[in-house]
């Protein structure tokens, strides 16, 4: 290729829009946005060939902060929107993004079935173990003793374990990242997008406003000590027994992605003829 006409490679900045995020100063989601744009630059797909789909919540504001096609839908249904989009437009790279409340509470059923359906898309959940947009209520991943106005003294409920659920439901790729390490998170997102089928990346993304205790997460995270496995049973055992702060690819399976039904092409007239007596 002639150097003079060779397209300029995309930089991370090319994937960033000029909107100013609504997030609080210090929010982990800024770094996740950075990880998104770095991952996109690493993949070098033109921005218009990527769609970022979300539901409702602080982290669900992310689509408009990218320079990609975005969809900011209703609470909990991002995976359904992303599924329809990917099936209808398999040529696009579809990234679904959101928070723990959106994905595991109101959207919990879609999470199970998206894992199970194994469509070739990537789901990034920014987990801060709290409903931030509504100003601090417990989410499915909140610790049982976390005190709040809605659940004084804590919910007393066992937290939902997204990675195990993803694995049990059939996700083909499971990873955990940390917003404090945007380069590492970007790398996980790249791997997730490249991996066929449904890939799930949980990114621990502190809410400094309602969960100031999460500032300590930087000290708690550590790289996963072993290489990813393709054996779901081994992966499940590891994930269930880890401390919740090991970062890396925890499972990379080889299940064939969803394929819509195919049929020999026919024109509408031929289909209509079947109604003729």
């Amino acid at each position: 290729m002639n150097i003079a006409t060779a397209p300029k490679p995309f930089s991370a900045n090319d994937y960033k829009s000029d909107y100013k995020p609504v997030w609080c100063p210090g929010c982990g989601d800024y770094s996740v946005l950075l990880a998104f744009t770095k991952a996109m630059a690493a993949l070098q797909r033109p921005p218009e060939e990527i769609a970022v789909v979300s539901g409702i919540g602080c982290s669900s504001r992310i689509p408009a902060y990218t320079n990609c096609y975005g969809f900011h839908g209703v609470h909990g249904r991002a995976l359904a929107v992303g599924t329809g989009l990917k099936v209808a437009r398999p040529d696009l790279t579809v990234i679904v993004a959101g928070g723990d409340g959106d994905g595991f509470s109101i959207g919990g059923n879609h999470f199970l079935h998206a894992c199970r359906r194994n469509i070739d898309l990537t789901y990034v959940v920014m987990d801060n173990r709290v409903y931030g947009m509504t100003k601090g209520q417990p989410s499915p991943t909140t610790e049982p003793d976390w005190d709040s106005a809605l659940a004084p003294g804590g919910t007393g409920l066992r937290p939902f374990h997204p990675l195990v659920i993803a694995l049990a439901s059939g996700a083909n790729f499971v990873a955990r990242g940390f917003s404090g390490d945007p380069n590492g998170a970007a790398d996980l997102i790249v791997q997730a997008i490249k991996h066929p089928g449904f890939s799930f990346v949980e990114i621990l993304s502190p809410c400094v406003t309602f969960r100031p205790d999460q500032r300590e997460w930087g000290k708690m995270v550590h790289p996963a000590s072993v290489a990813p496995t393709d054996d779901p049973a081994r992966a499940a055992r590891r994930i269930m027994t880890d401390d919740g702060f090991n970062i890396g690819v925890l499972y990379a399976g080889n299940r064939a992605p969803f394929k819509p039904q195919q049929a020999a092409p026919a024109d509408v007239a031929a289909i209509e003829a079947e109604f003729a007596l």
């Binding site: 990609c68 900011h72 839908g73 329809g84 437009r89 031929a270």
Partner: protein
């Protein structure tokens, strides 16, 4: 108008589940169609999946049949188990032939009390003499003979249904012939219907017709969650769509199915989902999203008895309110309704056209009585709408997804289009799509979304207007056919009335209705709801003559021409 009432024959076949009454009814309709008659077959059954009571209701006539009549000419029972539950659905009188197998017990009091002529016919005993013979095929022969059909037409219907040849086919044919012979022997006969030469006629159910309308309209993505009585639309599309390059995905629930359809449509592919009342309730939030984000979308709601789980297998028009008012906020959208089984095709196709050109969710409201009935009709006309979604070209200068345009519709960028990226949003937004809580943006976008529907040209399809007179009946959906029949009867009795059946329910068209009702002094509104939903809607959105009356009653019994005729005479006759 039509004279179906005078020249039609109505047959009811009842039996317990597995007795094969639906098969017999289906074959009777098919044979009649092959013999040059038109007809309609509806299915009625209890809630059981297998083994419950079932009734096939078949009406045959020389011309198109769109609804059932007031009474049945023949009631044939393969057995009488729980058949009394159909007494209200199968009105009979002293001119009806009630045919029952004496070996299956006496005619239930609910039917016997009508004073009908009771004819014993030992279906089981006759079938037993034929190796592999079944009573329902003996019943088919008996019904076919009463309908004046030739053995050949019945045999061809059997072949078409069974498809496999061999012993089963021979047994069914022999049993059918035995049924014909038994009727001849008993000296039973009904007035003969005049058949016409059948050329290219179709047999199609309302749900299939809706599916075909979707495909004709250009739908290429469907998300499906099964629900009675809409499932057949989805099942039909599941095999039809891949053949035209489309896809169907089974969703985990209705929340997912509508959001999948929205996602696919955002991707530029015309999309649809189909459901019934409970599913529609779950979908209303996402319909509002499609209104706000201006995503073209078709939702078919095959109405059943409500509220809640209601009566899943039977019909009612009571989802009108949720269809019109179910979305929160000021959320203008389109609601259309087919007016017959056959019209499910045109109306669904039109809905796709409106959704795509107006970038708006469009609800289609057939009901169980249309969706799950099968009709014989002339091949529907090839109607083609100039459907084109207004899309943004690559690299537009200063692209604004929600630009304020004269017609209210603005170019939609399809993902993949260079230089036009935007985020579709359920949040109120500026022209560019940026979330905004500013009063000016809110007003501008509310106006935009309302204006595009107000300015749209809904063409002649907005309503069916028939006949002349200074009185009129205004109705919609499956009430249309019985109203038409009632009006024909009224005309014969000297009452000339107009029929106005609305296909477009929202947005309201007060000027067009006023024009249609020019010179009309009295109006009767007819609908199948308990609370008069349609009447109240008309009262709120339309100018109606001072003397406007309403005849409304709930399902699940179909509206009968006779009861409507009585109301017409009472309320509209001078």
């Amino acid at each position: 108008m039509n004279d179906t009432a005078k020249r039609s024959l109505s047959f009811a076949v009842v039996g317990s589940g597995g007795a094969g009454v639906m098969t017999a009814g289906h074959m009777l309709l098919d044979a009649a169609a092959r013999a040059g008659l038109y007809g309609l077959m509806s299915r009625s059954s209890g809630p059981q999946i297998r083994g419950g009571e079932a009734a096939a209701l078949v009406r045959l006539a020389p011309g198109p049949v769109e609804s059932h009549g007031d009474r049945f000419d023949v009631l044939l029972a393969v057995d009488w188990q729980n058949a009394h539950r159909f007494a209200a659905e199968i009105p009979i009188d002293d001119a009806t032939l009630v045919i029952g197998d004496p070996g299956e017990g006496a005619v239930p009091e609910a039917f016997a009390s009508a004073g009908a002529r009771i004819v014993p016919l030992p279906l089981k005993a006759i079938a037993k003499k034929i190796p592999g013979g079944r009573p329902n095929m003996v019943a088919l022969g008996a019904l076919g003979a009463l309908a004046g059909l030739e053995a050949d037409a019945l045999a061809r219907a059997i072949e078409a249904t069974l498809q496999k040849g061999g012993d089963a086919l021979t047994a069914s044919r022999t049993a059918m012939m035995a049924g014909m012979a038994a009727v001849a022997e008993a000296g039973l006969a009904l007035p003969k219907l005049t058949a016409t030469r059948a050329n290219g006629r179709w047999a199609i159910s309302g749900n299939e017709a809706a599916g075909l309308g979707a495909v004709r309209g250009g739908i290429r993505f469907v998300a499906a969650y099964p629900i009675t009585p809409a499932t057949e639309i989805l099942e039909w599309l599941s095999s039809a769509l891949p053949r035209v390059g489309g896809t169907l995905v089974q969703a985990e629930d209705e929340l997912a199915s509508i959001n999948m359809a929205i996602g696919a449509s955002y991707g530029g592919v015309p999309s649809l989902t189909a459901t019934s009342g409970p599913g529609l309730s779950l979908m209303t939030e996402a319909m509002g999203l499609a209104v706000a984000a201006e995503i073209p979308l078709v939702v078919v709601d095959v109405m059943r008895g409500g509220p809640s789980t209601g009566i899943p297998t039977k019909s009612e028009q009571a989802d009108l309110n949720i269809a019109l008012y179910g979305l929160h906020g000021d959320a203008p959208h389109v609601v259309v309704a087919p007016n017959s089984v056959a019209d499910c095709l045109l109306t669904t196709q039109w809905a796709v056209h409106l959704a795509e050109t107006l970038q708006v969710p469009t609800l289609v409201l057939p009901d169980q009585s249309m969706g799950q009935s099968r009709v014989v009709l002339d091949r529907p006309a090839d109607i083609r709408f100039a459907t084109r979604r207004l899309v943004a070209e690559a690299a537009p200068a200063n692209y604004k997804r929600y630009a304020l345009t004269e017609g209210g519709v603005s170019p939609m960028a399809i993902p993949g289009t260079r230089g036009a990226v935007y985020t579709a949003d359920g949040l109120e937004h500026s022209e560019r799509g940026t979330p905004s809580s500013q009063a000016a943006d809110h007003l501008a976008q509310l106006d935009k979304r309302a204006n595009k529907l107000e300015q749209a040209d809904y063409s002649r399809y907005w309503a069916e207007i028939e006949g002349e007179g200074d009185v009129a009946v205004v109705t919609w959906g499956s009430c249309t056919a019985p109203v038409r029949e009632a009006l024909a009867r009224a005309r014969a009795g000297g009452v000339a009335a107009k029929l106005v059946s609305l296909r477009l329910l929202a947005p309201a068209q007060p000027e067009r209705l006023a024009e249609a009702l020019a010179g009309v002094k009295r109006v009767l509104v007819v609908e199948q709801t308990h609370s008069g939903q349609f009447y109240r809607y008309l009262r709120s959105a339309y100018e109606l003559p001072a003397e406007t009356r309403v005849f409304h009653r709930p399902g699940p019994l179909p509206m009968r021409p006779g009861e409507i005729h009585r109301k017409i005479v009472k309320e509209l006759a001078a």
